[in-house]
């Protein structure tokens, strides 16, 4: 199955943004019931690069991340306004099939959440759903390739039929990454993917993110400045629901324009 075809039948009337961005957000506001969680966020996320979101707890990083694949739709009290486009097409368009959107925009969660199924079935889940393999051989190939790209294959190749929940935390998280890339998404969203992992497993995932960059657009939320500096090319700093500053990672960490950004990355608050 190819995702190159447009998700919506008619071409959207949105003009191409100035910067050639994979994902572009314009004036995005999010309310949880009465709470104004995200205020007027506009940002461009470039293709085939790692963008990291940093900021103190509760500032809306996860909320914004979840807007990009419309996971906020599953929260009844959540209301999103503004515009988010992927490849110039509005993803909040009512004609868009949100199920297909989520196949294009994969997500890796803070806590590894492998399904209570075998390792093989975990990775085959998405391809099966979307009918991406015509037969068992093709499916096997997708599973093995995804596991290899998530650098997990060597560790699990002899026990593909064992339960995914029996793996270590780091392995589980790599399994979730393999599961996400098995449907060949264009964008991968990662919400603190290493927060439940030890330094060695974290290093492995970071290495993996760096490799995946050549094929995917990656957005990662992290609480670790070092991690943001190590893996990302662009960094966005959020504070109290607003996007304070966005730029190349180097610029944000060496020469932040905003006082709040500077305070945060030097550890003065947050």
């Amino acid at each position: 199955m190819s995702f190159a075809s447009p998700m919506i039948q008619e071409p959207a009337s949105v003009p191409e943004p100035a910067v050639a961005a994979k994902v572009a957000a314009r004036n995005v506001n999010v309310h949880y019931a009465e709470k104004h969680a995200l205020k007027d966020v506009s940002v461009d996320i470039p293709a085939r690069a790692v963008t990291s979101f940093i900021g103190p707890s509760g500032c809306g990083k996860s909320t914004f991340l979840r807007c990009i694949n419309r996971m906020n739709d599953t929260i009844p009290i959540c209301r999103v306004t503004g515009e988010i486009t992927i490849d110039g097409k509005d993803i909040y368009d009512s004609r868009l099939d949100v199920v297909l959107l989520r196949a294009r925009v994969g997500m890796v969660f803070q806590k590894p959440n492998p399904f209570p199924k075998s390792i093989y079935e975990n990775v085959a889940y998405g391809p099966r759903l979307h009918g991406m393999a015509r037969n068992k051989t093709e499916l096997d190939e997708i599973v093995v390739n995804s596991l290899k790209r998530a650098s997990l294959f060597e560790e699990v190749k002899d026990r593909l039929q064992e339960s995914g929940t029996g793996l270590s935390g780091g392995q589980q998280q790599r399994l979730c990454i393999a599961r996400a890339i098995a449907v060949s998404p264009e964008v991968i969203l990662m919400d603190e993917p290493c927060s439940a992992l030890d330094p060695i497993a974290t290093a492995k995932i970071e290495e993996l993110i760096d490799e995946l960059r050549s094929n995917f657009t990656i957005v990662i939320v992290t609480h670790s400045m070092q991690q943001a500096a190590r893996v990302s090319q662009r960094t966005a700093f959020f504070h109290l629901g607003s996007l304070v500053e966005e730029g190349s990672t180097e610029q944000i960490f060496t020469n932040p324009k905003d006082k709040r950004t500077q305070d945060y990355i030097t550890g003065r608050f947050g």
Binding site: T74, V99, L101, R102, K111, N113, F115, P116, Y125, L129
Partner: protein
Amino acid sequence: MTGFYYALMVALALGAYFLVRGRAAALANGQTLHSRPSYHGLLAAAQVILPMILIHFAGSVLAARFVEHQALVAMDPALLTDELRRGAAFREIREFAIGRGAANATQALQAGAAMYAYLSALTNWAVLGLGLAVGIAMALFSLRSISGEFRARNRFEQVVRYLLMACATVAVITTIGIVFSVLFETFRFFQKVSPIDFLFGTHWSPQTAIRADQVGSSGSFGMVPLLVGTLLISTIAILVAGPIGLFAAIYMAEYASPKFRAWAKPILEILAGIPTVVLGFFAALTVAPLIREVGTSLGLSVASESALAAGLVMGIMIVPFVSSLSDDVITAVPQSLRDGSFGMGATRSETIKKVVLPAALPGIVSAFMLAISRAVGETMIVVMAAGLAANLSFNPLDAVTTFTVQIKTILVGDQEFDSAKTLAAFALGFVLFFFTLTLNVIALAIVRKYREQYD
């Protein structure tokens, strides 16, 4: 006397509690205590209550045997060895002693009754005295053992532990006792009827001749018709309750708004509280005639009491068992699994089918097993809606009968205790027990197998 004993015990325990706690509190002013004063008090109360209960139980049992023995000896020593007359004689003695005996009592009976009255009073007082003495001694002992280092808190913890252990033991021993008594009677039954005939016989009519010269019914005890009847009705019931219950649970857990759920769930649970006899006449008076009418209009021959009627109503009865438990286990599946699935682009129903239900499977299986056990054990609805006729039939439109119904039928009314007919009830009970036990073991095995995989 018993009431008086326990009133005394409570008074003594309360006294010990407050006295000891007060003393300990007084001590606490000068030094640090290992345990807070109330623990000293609680331990003291426990130390009074437990021995006193023990003395009362053991004392009463021993005293009763002693009194019976002595009273019979006083009446006529020969009675002791005469098992048949012994019980009746002792009953007579007791009746006479409380003044309800016949006026024309024999000399011997009077002597026995006098001995009974005298010894009863004596032993009662002895138990009371002993209990009181021990209670007071324990209270004093508690008072003396108060000290800064005394670990009343840890001791009390031990007391609690042994109490809980005792309760668990009682439950286990009762179960074992019931199983063995049923097993024992079943063996007696098998001395009269061959196990082969019982297990594989296809004819059930438990009427036996009460007197030797009676003609006709010699009784036949083949349980196959009952087994088939039980399976038939339970199968119908679970075919009704399984889908309805499970789908209702899925709707309530995954789709319904919290508001709907808040009132729908309690209503479903009320269904579980309807007495089965009410459901029974609903089955007999509404459902069975309806089935018969529909059947006849379709040209089928339907018995006025049918397995279908009983099975349908029983299915309705067990819907809440399936739905309520399934709902709980489905709700307990972590949200992160659903998020993971939605994040992969799965729809809600795909997520339910491929992730939520497999993860909840062990719990759902136990819900089904519980429901089946309820169906197999249910009597009232079957009596009222499916009849008593032991037909060997797989046709849900026929009247059939089940294990429980036959047990009830056999044991209602006057019975000769060691006739094959009466003993057959125990054999049926044993088979039923074995049946549900097997179900439970299977359920446990399934649950365990998937637990390993799904945690």
